[in-house]
Structures are given as C-alpha cells and as structure tokens.
Amino acid sequence: MRVMGVKGLTLYHLKSHLQKFRLGKQPHKEFNDHSIKDDLQRTSASSSGMMARSMNEMQMEVQRRLHEQLEVCRELPHPNVQRHLQLRIEAQGKYMQSILERACQTLAGENMAAAGGAAGGYKGVGNQQGVLPHMDGAMKDNFGPTLNFPPFQDLNIYGGDQHLDIQHNVERSSPSLDGHFMSNKRHGPYGGGGGTGKSPLIWSDELRLQDLGMAPSCLGPQDDPFKTGVIQIGPPSIETSGIGKLESLSDIYDTKPGISNDGIDERKFELSPKPERPSPRRAPFQTERMNP
C-alpha cells in the first residue's frame, strides 16, 4: 500500500505538471490566436494550414498525455487497463485516419476531374485512372505523409514492417490534415483552396495498402456497394489548388467481383499478409516523437 501511495503521489505531481503545461507553457506557443489571425489575413490556404497544425497539435498533445499517463501508471494495479486503453485509442485513431484518407482521395479525384475537364466532379474520376499512377512520383516528392502519429507506426495495421521506413523517410514537420479539408470555396471561415504549394497531405497509409498487392482501380460510383472493381488502393494524386467541395467519400475498399457480402471477411482475411499483433512498446513514443 505504501508503494501505491508513492505512485499516487507521482501521478498527482504529473497531473499538476500537465495542468501547468496546459496553462500556457506549451511548446507550440507560436500557434496562438494572434498568428492564426495574421495568417487568416494572408492567404486562406495558410489559415487552413493553421487549422491543420492546430489539429496536429492536439493529436500530439493527446498522444503525449497518453504516453505520460501510461508511464506513470505502469506500476499501478490493473496495468492491463492502461495498455488496453492505449491500443484501443490507437485503433480508433487508425480507423479515423482511413476515413480522412479516403476523403483526401475523393478530393484528389475531384480535382483531377476538374483539372481534366471531366464532366461531373465525382464520377469523372473513374475515367482518369490512367492519370493517377503517373502522378505518383511527382506527388511523392512534393508531399509526404505527415500525420504525426508516432504510436501508429507500431501497429503494423496493414501488415509488414516495411511501411515504417516510408514514414521515417518523409518530411515530418509539415502540418497534416491540411487545407484539403478546410478549403472550402463557398463558405466557412477557413478559407478557399488557394494553393501555395506548402500543403502536404496524408497518404502514407496508401503506400501501406498498396503493399497488400492490390491493383489500383477506378473509384467507382459511390452508391455501388460491394460490387465493383478491384480493391483499390492507389496513392492519391493530390493537387493543392482548386480543391472543390467534397461531395462524398470515395469507396476505396470495393471487394473483388463475385464475392458476396458474407464472404467478404474470409477473402479479405487472406488477402492481407498476416498482420502482427500490435505491440505496446513504449519506447517509440520517445524515439519517434516529432519536433513540433
């Protein structure tokens, strides 16, 4: 009990520390409202960049707190609760990432359609399948995966360790979740989609998914459930300019033709390389933490 008491004291001190930390001694002090306002006056793209940095900050803050709490609580009873919570939060984050990535891709698709003059923002994407792969190289140079989730790299969600290298090689300090979500020509306070070239996007997980061995396919009509095309995952071809309104999320994960709904699980199971169990290593929190 005495040991527990000592640990409890540590937790209390940590929380006080966190509270002080929140009360203004944050490392991201430059991202206060003044700079947000100034940037809003400059270009709308950088306001969305500010929003993206804001979101990024929060994600990192949440992760940091999670890490610190877990470090402290390691000795407390029910350590499994902490570990499980970490894994579950990461799983939710991973899933969220897939939603956002698909939104990116849809936006990208629409931009391709818009740029290529195809009729009808969304459906036109399918016709430009050939264009998508060509953009890979260029896009890869300009944009990198920038979703700063150090713990997620441990999860091997889509199998295989090689994906970690991709993450490591890429420019990390730029904001994630950028203006493509916020760039909204018509309304909203976060400005239109002016491209300034400094808007990298998340697409690291597309690379991972590609390693599943799926051929890129066209993005079929959104309301065609479970029927069309191959399982797609090409890297997104993303432009920074002229981001249009996001009509819907593209359906990346179409099944292979001929698979009924009930069979989806088995087939999908086989298609992916055997995933490793997420390992709740704690060291990576520190070694892979980004510089803000």
Partner: protein, 486 residues
C-alpha cells in the same frame, strides 16, 4: 459554486444567494481564468414569476440597456487570447457572461409568454445579437450566439434555427449545408479535444467484451453506426484477447435510414466497407450487414438476420455530439423490438439531462444552457489555444444541436429531450448488468488523459456518467434481457 456579482439588480433577484469573490486560488476557480463565469446555476431555476421582475427591472430604469452598453464597450477590449487574462479583465468577462445569461433567460421567458411579450423577446434578442459572436470572444459569448440564434428561430416560427438572421459576423449554419470536409474535420477535432465519443464507445465495448469472453460468434445490432468508429477498438480488443476462443467472428448489423439527403459523415455502405477493410487489416473475422428501418424509422425485429448460437448485442448510442437527432418513437421501437430478441447485452449511451421540474420552457432552456456551457468549457479547458478548432466543432455540431433541441423543447414542452432511456429500459423489464471495475478504471484513465475537470460517477451498478465539473453530461448503461441469466 460562487456567483460573481457586481450588478445591483442581481442582488435583488437572488436574495438568498451567496456572493463571494471569485479571485482565489482554489482549483474550483481555475476554470474561471479562461473567461467563463462561475455561475450558481441552481439559483437560476427559480419561479418563473421572478423573471418578470427581472424583465421589468431591466426595462423600467434602463439599467438593462445601460449594462448592455457597458458590456458592449467592454467586449471591445476583451482579448481573444484567453490565456492572458488578468484580474480586471477576468471580472469584466464574468460580468458580461452573466449579463448574457440574464438576457437569454429574459428572452426565453418572453418567448414562453403571450404575444405581447414576444415583442419584448424581439427587443432582447436584438440587444443580444450586438453582444455575441459565433467565432470570437469567450465561451459564454459564443454559446450565447448560438442560443440567441436558436431563440430567434423560435420567434420567427421556423423552429429549427435556420438562419435568416445573421448575428454580426456569424455565418449560416444549416446542418445540411455543412461542407463534408468541415464535418470530418470537426469530428476529428471533437475526438481529439474531448472524451465524449470515446467514453461512450469504450464503456460499451468493454462491457461487450466481458459479456462475450467465451463466444465464438458475436452479433451486434447497431442503432446508429454513423462512421463506424466504435467498432475499430472493439475489433482490436477482440484480436488481442487472450482468454476465450481466438478471434471470434464479429458480425455488425447497422440500421440504415431511407435517404434523408443529409449524409453527415458518410453512408452506411461506406461505413460497412471501412469496417470490412479495417477488420481485414487486423485479422478480425468480420461481416457487415444493413437492416433498413421503415420510412418512419421504426425498427422491425423481423428484418434482422439472426444466426443460431451467436451472442446478440444491442448497441444504442444516442446524443453523442456528432450524432443526428433520432425521434423517440424510433428509439423506442428499437429498444422494445430488441427485447423480443432476448439479447445477451444492451449497451445504451445517452445524454444526461437535468431534472425536469416545473420550470416549463424557461427551466428547460436554462438547463440546456447549463449543459452546453459545460461542454464548451470542457473543450476550452483541454485546449485553450485552439479557438478556431473549437469554433468549428461548435459550428458544425453543437450549434445545430442547440437549435434543434430548443425547438423541440419549445414545441413539446421538453418531454422529448428529457427522455431517460435507461429508466425506460428498467421499466421495460431489462435487467441491469454491473459495470466492472476494469471498465470503471478505463473510464477514469480515459478522462484523465483529457482534463482533470472531467469526472466519472457510478450512479448505479450498471451506469457510468461522464460529467464536467459538477454537470453530468453523458451516461453509459449496460443491460441484459429480462430472461437472461447473465
């Protein structure tokens, strides 16, 4: 809680309230430094007759307008960087916040009255609109902007907060018009900034895990799957489960509603595809089905496809901040239909509302104001520097909820909004299932990641309630069918 008072008429109004300084160092007051007034909410829920006195006192001697003028001047000097507030600014913001509350209350009272007082309501709302802004200022100012707009909607009879009336620099915010990416961004931010979504999901999921440790097949019927994120963490937990059969088969049936045109964060089909892909990525055997609700959103249990030997779970998430409104009849049809299926477990998450009392519309209005002020404060306390992010969440999710909720309260007298489904389940004969110690620990740990201001209470053996400071906000309860031997 103490109430800051520097206005004469407040002393008259709340004759039995305490007036203490708010400038001490006790932890209960630290949140005050972020511009939120420390309010004695109980004192607001008094006899409606008192409101008439308030209104008269405001109108007769011009005090109200004088205060408003002063507040207007003050608001120009209030820094939007709420971290750099000193004592004087602190007091001004608190005063202004309280003035806004009084004005809102007066407007609500006027609206609840006869036609003559509707004119009064109109006047008060005009004044309010000068003082508030959707995007700038303190929590109270932004919150008041949305409540003002909601009241304006009631006044004009549109009943839904549809914006023909702009509040200074506030934009329209029809729920339907929200840019899809705005909604996604707001949803992501909501999850990063607050534990509401995770609390509901994780508490339910932990109970599901515990109830199915030895099952090979699990079937979850999800009332409102939305984007499906609840099941990501459940799947992760299932694949890493050490006891019981490895990787039990998980089946999710999501209820779908015939096209409302508004797709919020995505269609059910998209959700299904995502879940299938996610399950595949972590090696979880999985299948996904839809079950259509009737056009009036009634649930018919016969439309479900059930498999012998599967553990049936009924999952009913309501009132999470990013959720759409669901009519009580629909929810009732779901839960009562569920009873006929003899489920292993029923997981219910719903908003926790204050006691109804006799306050009528004004009482419910003030309770709603209290509720959302706690939500706003909780977001700010965790991330005080992220004003723009919070404003987005407020615009996309909270503002429309406020407008819709007030409209329903106005029309139906608040009975709809205060439906306590957990009470209803108990009445229907569902049996409570204890929340485990591990589940409770998880909730505490989760809240601790966000802010000390959150707390979890175990209000019953089967019910955890998440609250901010002293305000209860979200309740998670676990049940089993009346005939189960769980």
């Amino acid at each position: 809680m103490a109430m800051a008072t520097d206005n004469a008429f407040e002393v008259d109004f709340y004759s039995n309230s305490t007036t203490t300084s708010i400038t001490d160092d006790s932890p209960a007051c630290t949140w005050n430094h972020w511009g939120s007034p420390v309010v004695d909410w109980d004192s607001f829920s008094s006899d409606p007759d008192d409101f008439q006195d308030l209104i008269e006192s405001m109108m007769d001697d011009g005090t109200g307008f004088e205060l408003a003028r002063v507040a207007h001047e003050t608001s120009n000097s209030v820094s939007t960087d709420t971290m750099v507030v000193d004592e004087e600014t602190n007091g001004d913001e608190d005063s202004k916040g309280l003035r806004l509350i009084h004005l809102l209350m007066a407007a609500a009272e006027a609206l609840a009255g006869d036609n003559k007082s509707r004119e009064l309501a109109r006047v008060i709302l005009v004044r309010l609109k000068e003082l508030v802004s959707h995007n700038d200022g303190t929590n109270m100012e932004r919150l008041a902007a949305y409540f003002t707009e909601a009241l304006q909607g009631l006044l004009e009879g549109s009943g839904g907060g549809h914006g023909k009336h702009l509040i200074t620099n506030g934009p329209h915010h029809h729920r339907d018009e929200h840019h899809h990416t705005d909604m996604l961004a707001a949803f992501q931010l909501l999850q990063d900034m607050s534990p509401y979504v995770k609390f509901g999901h994780f508490t339910a999921n932990q109970a599901i895990l515990e109830a199915t440790t030895h099952d090979r097949r699990i079937h979850i019927v999800d009332y409102d799957a939305m984007e499906g994120i609840q099941w990501a963490s459940l799947m992760q937990a299932l694949v890493s489960r050490k006891d019981g059969p490895p990787a039990p088969h998980l089946r999710i049936t999501a209820l779908s509603r015939s096209g409302s045109g508004r797709r919020s964060i995505g269609t059910i089909q998209e959700t299904g595809r995502r879940l299938v892909a996610f399950a595949a990525s972590i090696g979880q055997p999985f299948s996904f089905h839809q079950c259509r609700l009737d056009s009036d959103e009634t649930f018919r249990p016969s439309a479900l496809k059930l498999v012998r030997g599967e553990a049936l779970i009924i999952n009913c998430m309501l009132h999470l901040p990013h959720f759409s409104y669901r009519a009580p009849d629909s929810v009732a049809s779901f839960l009562s239909g569920a009873k006929t299926l003899n489920p292993r477990l029923v997981t219910l998450v719903e908003e926790e509302v204050g006691p109804i009392g006799d306050g009528g519309f004004v009482g419910r209005f003030m309770d709603s104001l209290h509720h959302y002020s706690a939500v706003y404060d909780s977001l700010e306390a965790g991330f005080p520097m992220q004003n723009r992010a919070r404003a987005l969440v407020e615009r996309v999710f909270l503002g429309p909820r406020i407008a819709g909720s007030l409209a329903r309260i106005y029309r139906t007298g608040g009975e709809e909004e205060s439906c306590g489904w957990s009470k209803w389940l108990a009445t229907m004969g569902f049996k409570p299932v204890n929340i485990s110690f591990a589940n409770h620990c998880q909730a505490k740990l989760l809240l601790g990641l966000f802010n000390d201001g959150y707390r979890v209470e175990e209000l019953a053996n089967n019910r955890l309630v998440l609250g901010w400071k002293s305000r209860r906000l979200l309740s998670a309860s676990i049940w089993t069918s009346p005939h189960s031997d769980l």
